[in-house]
C-alpha cells in the first residue's frame, strides 16, 4: 500500500503567452501524485488542459511554476538534453495518431528508443521482438507502418513505449482514432501490460467507459483537478470480466453492459467537484 510516488507534482502552473499583453492560464495550480504500478485515467472536456498536463508529465514541456519530481528526480530545472534522456528512459509515449516513423518497419520503430539509449543491436532486436510478441503482432515485425491497420499501429506504438522499460506509460487518447471495438482491445492491452509488466499507466481519454475500468479517475476542468475518484470497484469488475472472458469467450457483451451502469454513477460523482478535500481523500484510498 505504501508505495513510492512515481509522479509527484506540486503547484504546477502552465501559462502560454499569446502576444505581449495576453497570457492564458491553461494549468492552474495542480497537485498530482501517482504511485508506482497505478493505472490512472485523466478525463475532462476538450480544452480542459489534459494534453498540456500530459506534456509536462512526459517532460516534453516545462511548467511555468511548481515542482515536479519524476521517479525521485526533480526535473523542472533540467537542461534540454537531460530532459531528452528522461523521456528516453523514464517515459513511454502512446499517441492518438500512433506516430510511427514512416519507412521504418515495426521492428525498427520499437528499436528506436533503445537506439537512442545506446543499446547494442542484438539486445535491441531481441527485446523488440519480445515486445512485439507481447502486444500480439509477433507475426508482423517486418511490416511497414503503411502496411498495418490502425489497431496494429497502436500495438507497435505500445511496444515502442515499453522499449526502454520506462517508469510510466503516458497515453493521450490512444483509442481516439480507433473504432470502439479496436479501442477496447487496445485498452485491454494496457491492462495486460499493467498486470504482467507492473507498469504505471496514465491514460487520457474522452471515453468514460474506458476510464471506468482504471484504478483512479481524475477529472480536469479549466486547468484544475476538480475530481479524483478511486475506482477500485470498477477496476476489479473489469478484471473479473477479463477473467470471465478467458473462461468463456462468448460473453463479450457483459463488461460493456456493466460499464453503462458505472458511467451513470460517475456522472453523479461530478456533483461533488467543488469539494477540494475530496481529492486527497480519494487519492489515499486508492491501491
Amino acid at each position: 500500500m505504501n508505495k513510492e510516488n512515481i509522479i509527484d507534482m506540486k503547484n504546477i502552473v502552465k501559462n502560454f503567452f499569446i502576444g505581449t499583453p495576453n497570457e492564458v492560464h491553461i494549468i492552474k495550480d495542480i497537485d498530482l501524485r501517482v504511485k508506482k504500478g497505478e493505472f490512472v485515467s485523466i478525463i475532462g472536456a476538450s480544452g480542459s488542459g489534459k494534453s498540456t498536463l500530459m506534456n509536462i508529465i512526459g517532460a516534453l514541456d516545462r511548467p511555468t511554476s511548481g515542482t515536479y519530481t519524476l521517479d525521485g528526480i526533480p526535473i523542472e530545472d533540467m537542461a534540454d538534453n537531460e530532459l531528452s534522456d528522461v523521456r528516453n528512459k523514464k517515459i513511454g509515449f502512446v499517441f492518438q495518431t500512433f506516430n510511427l516513423i514512416p519507412r521504418n518497419s515495426a521492428l525498427k520503430n520499437v528499436e528506436l528508443p533503445m537506439l537512442y539509449a545506446g543499446i547494442d543491436k542484438k539486445t535491441r532486436i531481441d527485446r523488440a521482438k519480445y515486445l512485439l510478441e507481447l502486444v500480439g503482432i509477433g507475426d508482423r515485425i517486418h511490416f511497414m507502418p503503411n502496411e498495418l491497420s490502425g489497431g496494429q499501429k497502436q500495438r507497435v506504438a505500445i511496444a515502442r513505449a515499453l522499449a526502454n522499460d520506462p517508469s510510466i506509460i503516458l497515453a493521450d487518447e490512444p483509442t481516439g482514432a480507433l473504432d470502439s471495438q479496436t479501442g477496447h482491445l487496445v485498452v485491454d492491452l494496457f491492462h495486460k501490460i499493467h498486470k504482467q509488466e507492473g507498469k504505471t499507466i496514465v491514460l487520457i481519454t474522452h471515453n468514460k467507459e474506458l476510464a471506468s475500468e482504471t484504478q483512479r479517475i481524475i477529472t480536469l476542468r479549466d486547468g484544475q483537478i476538480v475530481n479524483q475518484k478511486c475506482n477500485t470497484a470498477g477496476f476489479k469488475r473489469y478484471q473479473a470480466g477479463v477473467d470471465k472472458h478467458s473462461v468463456a469467450e462468448s460473453e463479450v457483451e457483459e463488461p460493456i453492459l456493466q460499464s453503462d451502469e458505472i458511467s451513470t454513477g460517475f456522472e453523479t460523482g461530478n456533483d461533488l467537484e467543488t469539494g477540494n478535500d475530496f481529492e486527497t481523500e480519494g487519492e489515499n484510498q486508492c491501491l
Binding site: L60, S84, F93, N99, I101, R103, N104, P113, Y116
Partner: protein, 425 residues
C-alpha cells in the same frame, strides 16, 4: 555513434523518392562531372601538345611571311602556313641573300637555320610496292630545326645542297613499305612520281617516323604520307619560286628565345617596312606552348566557373529539399524527440542525409565525368587521363557541400519544439 543507422535511413529515404532525389542531385552531378571531364581532357590535351611541340623543337624560332593584318593567332607548325587565299609574289618572299644577311646579323645567337621548300605530293613506286610521300626541300640546318631523328645514314649536307645532289632522307615507314626487313636501304635508288615528273633519288638516310596525333585520320599506316627530304637546291630546280616563305632558326644554348624572337621581329619589321601587303613574322614554340597552355587554362577557368555555379545551385537545391523534408517530417521529428532523441542526434540525422545526397550525386558526377572525359579525349585523339586525386577531392568536396548546405535545415529540425512538432498537421 548512430551514423550507420542514419546512412541506411537516408538511403531508404532517397529510394522512396527516386525522382526527387535525382533532381536534387542534378546540380552536384553537373558540377562534378564537368570538373572531372575538363580536367581529364585538359590533362591529356596538354600532355599531347607538349610532346608534339617538343618534337618540333621548343627552342626553335619560326620566321614566316604572311599577309599584313592576318590574325595573329598562336600560329602553328610551318606546314600550315601559306594555305591562305593570297599568294605572295617572288619579291615578297625571303631570298637567299636576305637570309644570308639575316644570318650574319644575328651570327652570335643563331646556331642553325633550317630552310624548307615544299615541292608537293608524290608517290614512290617499285613494281607493286609503293609509298606516299610529301617531297620537301631542306638544308642541313633543318635536321636540328625539324627535330629529325635519324635511325641510319646521314642527313642532307651543305655539300648536297651546293652540288644539287639527287639524294634523299626517307621515313622508316617508306623503308618498311618498299624494302624487305633485312635489306639495308642506304645507297638504294628509288623513283618518285610527281604530278608531271619522275625523279630518281639515292637514299642517304632514314629517319624515325612518328604518327602525329594532330594529323588527319589515315586508313592504314601503309598509306601514310611521310616527308621525303631532298636538298633544297634540288627542290628549287623545278620551281618558279626560288625564295622562301618560311625558315626556322635554332638559337644557341643560353640565348633567351623570347628576347631573340622579339629582336628578329624588329629586324623583319624593318625589312618589310616598305611592303604594303606582306610582313615577316617571328614566333617561337615556347610561346606557342604557353599560348596553348593559357588557352587551356582559360577553358579550364571557364568550366570551373560553370562547375562552381552548378555546385552552388546544386547545394542550394539540396538545402531547399532538406528544408522541405524537415517540414514534411515535422511530426516525425517531434516523435523522435518524444522518444528521447537529443537535438544533436536529430541534427546529425539530417546532415547525414544531405551528405548522402551530395556524395551519391558526386559519385554519379565522377562516373559521368570520366565517361565524358573519355569521349572528349577520343574526339581529340588523345590518350584519356584520369586523375585520382581530383576524383577523391570531388567526392570530399561533395561531402563538404552536403555538410555546408545541410547544416541550416538540420539545425532547424534540431531546434524544433517537440510539442509544436507533435501538434503539426
Amino acid at each position: 555513434m548512430f551514423i550507420k543507422e542514419n546512412i541506411l535511413l537516408a538511403i531508404a529515404g532517397l529510394k522512396s523518392n527516386k525522382m526527387r532525389s535525382l533532381l536534387t542531385m542534378l546540380g552536384i552531378i553537373i558540377g562534378i562531372s564537368s570538373v572531372i571531364a575538363i580536367v581529364s581532357v585538359g590533362n591529356s590535351l596538354t600532355a599531347s601538345f607538349k610532346t608534339t611541340m617538343e618534337n618540333f623543337g621548343a627552342s626553335n624560332i619560326i620566321i614566316y611571311v604572311r599577309e599584313k593584318g592576318a590574325p595573329s593567332d598562336g600560329g602553328g607548325p610551318p606546314s600550315f602556313i601559306g594555305s591562305g587565299a593570297a599568294t605572295p609574289s617572288e619579291s615578297d618572299l625571303l631570298s637567299d641573300d636576305q637570309i644570308l644577311a639575316f644570318e650574319e646579323h644575328f651570327a652570335d645567337r643563331i646556331k642553325t637555320i633550317g630552310l624548307v621548300h615544299n615541292v608537293g605530293a608524290a608517290k614512290v613506286q617499285d613494281g607493286h610496292l609503293y609509298a606516299n610521300v610529301n617531297v620537301i626541300g631542306t638544308n642541313e640546318g633543318y635536321k636540328d630545326t625539324g627535330n629529325i631523328k635519324l635511325t641510319s645514314g646521314r642527313y642532307i649536307t651543305e655539300k648536297d645542297v651546293k652540288s644539287s645532289r639527287k639524294v634523299v632522307v626517307v621515313s622508316s615507314q617508306l623503308v618498311s613499305n618498299l624494302f624487305a626487313p633485312n635489306v639495308d636501304p642506304i645507297g638504294k635508288e628509288i623513283k618518285a612520281y610527281g604530278t608531271d615528273s619522275i625523279d630518281t633519288y639515292m637514299i642517304v638516310g632514314v629517319y624515325k617516323y612518328e604518327a602525329s596525333s594532330f594529323g588527319p585520320a589515315i586508313a592504314s599506316a601503309k598509306d601514310t604520307r611521310t616527308d621525303f627530304y631532298i636538298p633544297v637546291s634540288v627542290a628549287k630546280e623545278t620551281s618558279v619560286n626560288k625564295n622562301y616563305q618560311s625558315l626556322t632558326v635554332t638559337s644557341k644554348i643560353d640565348v633567351d628565345t623570347t628576347k631573340f624572337t622579339a629582336d628578329i621581329q624588329t629586324y623583319m619589321d624593318k625589312l618589310y617596312a616598305n611592303n604594303v601587303k606582306w610582313e615577316g613574322s617571328a614566333m617561337n614554340m615556347e610561346s606557342t606552348i604557353s599560348t596553348m597552355t593559357t588557352f587551356l587554362n582559360t577553358i579550364s577557368v571557364g568550366v570551373a566557373v560553370i562547375a562552381a555555379i552548378s555546385l552552388l545551385v546544386g547545394g542550394i537545391g539540396v538545402m531547399n529539399i532538406m528544408l522541405v523534408s524537415v517540414t514534411e517530417r515535422t511530426r516525425e521529428i517531434g516523435t523522435r524527440k518524444a522518444l528521447g532523441a537529443r537535438s544533436s542526434y536529430i541534427k546529425m540525422q539530417f546532415i547525414v542525409e544531405a551528405v548522402i545526397i551530395c556524395v551519391i550525386g558526386g559519385i554519379i558526377g565522377v562516373i559521368l565525368g570520366i565517361i565524358l572525359g573519355a569521349v572528349g579525349s577520343a574526339i581529340l585523339k588523345t590518350a584519356p587521363s584520369i586523375s585520382v586525386p581530383i576524383i577523391i577531392i570531388s567526392v570530399l568536396f561533395s561531402m563538404a557541400i552536403g555538410i555546408f548546405f545541410g547544416y541550416y535545415p538540420a539545425s532547424k529540425a534540431a531546434n524544433l519544439d517537440p510539442i509544436e512538432a507533435l501538434r503539426y498537421e
